[in-house]
Amino acid sequence: MTQDELIWRIAGGSGDGIDSTSQNFTKALMRYGLHVYTHRHYPSRIRGGHTYVEVRASEEPVTSRGDGFNVLLALGDSFARNPSEGAVYGDEKTKPLFENLDELNEGGLIIYDTGVLEDEDVGDLETQARENDWHLYPIDLRAIAREHGRDVMRNTAGVGATAALLDMPLDPIQELMSEAMGGDILDANLAVLSDAYEHTNAEFEATHDLRIPKHDHDEEQVLLSASHGISYGAIDEGCRFVSGYPMTPWTDVFTILKREIEDLGGVAEQVEDEIAASMMAIGASHAGAKALTGSSGGGFSLMSESIGLAEMTETPLVMVEAQRAGPSTGMPTKTEQSDLEFVLSTSQGDSSRVVFAPGNVRESYEQTRLAFELAYKYQLPAIVLYDDMLTGEFRNLPRSFFDREANPDLGSVATEAELEDLPHDVGGRYERFRTEGDTDVNPRSLPGMRNGRFLATGNEHWPDGQIAEDTANRIKQMNRRVSKVEVVRDALAEQASPDTVVGDEDADFALLTWGSQKGVVEEAVRRLTESGHSIKALSVSQMAPLRTEEIADFLAGVEEALVVEMNATGQFKGLLQKEFGDYGDVLSSLLKYNGDPFEPAEIIEAVEIKQSGEGGDTSSETTLRPPAGDRS
């Protein structure tokens, strides 16, 4: 067991307070001075079932969930409803203990609540513990909670026991509790916390080696998920309109923005369906607000036609797509990267859009800002594509990262004075869609502006917007719209690339990934490099337009590359092969699609199998797919 980092997993039933407890504990670790990272796993039900949150804390910055974990706090499922003997799915109440043992590292600690998990439920736990050098700490957390407050506070008791066993001082935890609650509830929780701490210290001689690491941040930190990154990026771009319909995991962004935008004097609407949500964002944008909408796979499908309309009418539209496992509607609360192909081409007709897939909180903030800038400047849809994992991944980052200027600029809206001088047709309509050159992006006018009236329509149109079926005009207008992608490509080429390369730049073995798997791939490369491998990795987050030159440079001289992604069909690999054609025999896939994100060890294992040249299968839950053969 590594002693320089803690990977603590709290497990229980949904409704047992796993989420809030883990968040507070994570924040306490961050305030204690550590770098933190959380990974959330939960079922699609309101109460009960197997839920866990993993918190990884280290002296070094953390970019992934890590391999397995080393401390289990098993609270038991207090909402279990089918504990009948011999039930096919086993005893739900004890799941939080048993379901987690597979991934508990050797030498790990198990703290379990004997108030809910009775000793006879635990079966051969002691035998397993001996074989794996696990250290067992059975504590009646429920009794401690009950004595000072209520049953539900057994998670607080669990945190107290954790702190005692890891030699962590209670002050940061107590401080956070005092900020979050007050009155009798606070007093009861504080009593439960310290009682569990003292009880554990008195009752047990700690037999394990793990102690809490120590580090100090040199500046103030904040704990945020990518959903916060997206939301705050939108706010700093002056987004003051959001419309949406609840759907996991998009709901995370929606709930953050609902509160923030109303607070900031904007409009936030939960509407009747996703079609309405996307049409409202178009209406708001057309009328002059910076607007955002979004959904997850199924709901995003309903928005398809609106995306086409936004493209055709050249209405700026910023959308968020939070992927999850399975189409209509597979594993609602589990993660996957399986909407890439869909998002790149959603909508009827020839169409253009910008797509970013941020890989962490920082990128989610920066790329959302960029999405707004591009959408409003070039008048097209810009989509931020992320996934369930990033909605549950909380990380610390310096508060100063957010110390940036707001940009409420509407992009390309003309003033009334400017409109007066811009071309109009003989009837006085503003030629909003004129086609002097091939790449014109004309200034917008807003309803209510003098000299600006025009028609926005999904039909092909003359420069003033009037519907037209003239073939020559069709070609001109289509060329102008389609070529906007090239204009955007050139504009983005001027900016620093968001796509990052790590490792040995001369390596002939490479990894490619996109979006959320950036951090774990980079950790795998770091560890492989430390153990003497020559390897490099490219993480792509600018999905459309793709930075093809950069990717080609990266692949030049590479003999073999593994494309790492969380889907069953290798969608990113497919995109690369569509763009490049001649890498068919170089690119093979490493895929995972069981609903959980990659762990670094899984990538390391696959690399070792590939590099040994002996073929063979990965032993874990990942799949290696051979190259498709050169199809060029």
Binding site: S231, G238, R240, I282, H286, P408, G448, R453
Partner: protein, 311 residues
């Protein structure tokens, strides 16, 4: 807000100001009822003194959707059935705009039925004109949600097996605060009703009976109308929900028996609009959101200053 000079400009407006100087690509058949809607809407706007550039006309798809081509204001010719969410969002961002949505009976009562229900329930301050000709025109004559039971068409070979939608009853139960029906054969009343609908603070639904000379030659829309407000036979209180419901029930049945009744059916004046409801809850600013983007004095709050709960 001098960047929106067209709003409340106070300039005199005539119907001609809404007539495009460039003849649009002709899409309506000779004798189409849609010309009457166009004329009534232009007349209503000039009666109200609305500048064409303060009006946003949002239309759906179909013959009714081409209204924008003939009506020279700001326009958005959107997607089949999706006019209402687009229009209401524009209104929420800039409530000084005069927002009118228009669509056909398939558009409004079929594919857009969900939006119709919810926009009415929320009582957005906008006007919704539904061109009701009981048939799909531009797709060449299929039965629509308001086609009479038994109506035969190429896709309903044995006659429609469904009862028609009752649009006004639907609007009433959904929560619209102004509901009227008028007819293309009745231009004077049509213009008056549109004036009232546009002036109404809240969601105004106007079911506009329009004849389709190509695909629905037998429609009751050709029959002379009876104005329920002018006839002695019909005495009811338009502000009373129960009496209005009863009148609508009779009227909507009578239409299919060949008796066309038009007029105001329900007018609720004291109900808050959705904007007002939201403002009362501090969910929406008192002045238009769009104004913030042009306010040079405004200090835009940054997320940096809102991070305390995350430290």
């Amino acid at each position: 807000m001098n960047q929106f000079d067209a709003i409340d400009s106070g300039e005199e407006v005539t119907s001609d100001d809404y007539t495009p100087e460039i003849e649009p690509q002709a899409t309506w058949c000779p004798g189409c009822g849609d010309y009457s809607v166009l004329k009534a809407l232009k007349g209503a706007m000039s009666d109200l003194g609305r500048d064409p550039e303060e009006v946003l006309l949002v239309t759906g798809i179909g013959c009714s959707g081409k209204l924008n081509s003939y009506f020279d204001s700001y326009g958005f010719h959107a997607i089949h059935g999706r006019t209402l969410p687009l229009g209401r969002a524009a209104k929420m961002v800039n409530e000084d705009l005069e927002v009118v949505a228009a669509g056909g009976d398939g558009d409004g009562y079929g594919i857009g039925g969900n939006h119709f229900t919810h926009t009415a329930r929320e009582n957005h301050d906008m006007t919704y004109i539904v061109f009701n000709n009981e048939v799909f025109g531009l797709t060449k004559g299929q039965s629509s949600p308001t086609s009479p039971k038994g109506h035969k068409s190429k896709t309903q070979l044995r006659g429609v097996a469904k009862d028609p939608v009752r649009p006004m009853s639907l609007a009433l139960s959904a929560g619209a605060s102004f509901i009227a029906r008028t007819a293309a054969t009745n231009p004077k009343q049509a213009q008056e009703i549109l004036v009232e609908a546009i002036e109404h603070d809240g969601f105004a639904h106007v079911d506009f009976l329009t004849q389709c000379p190509t695909w629905n030659k037998d429609g009751a829309q050709y029959v002379p109308y009876i104005d329920v407000q002018e006839s002695d036979e019909y005495d009811f209180d338009v502000t009373d929900r129960r009496e209005a419901a009863e009148m609508m029930h009779e009227t909507e049945q009578a239409l299919y028996d060949g008796k066309v009744l038009t007029g105001r059916y329900y007018v609720e004046k004291d109900r808050r609009t959705y904007q007002e409801e939201k403002q009362a809850r501090d969910e929406m600013p008192e002045s238009p959101v769009v104004g913030q983007y042009f306010d040079e004095e405004k200090e835009w709050e940054r997320s940096y200053d809102r991070l305390d709960r995350h430290t």
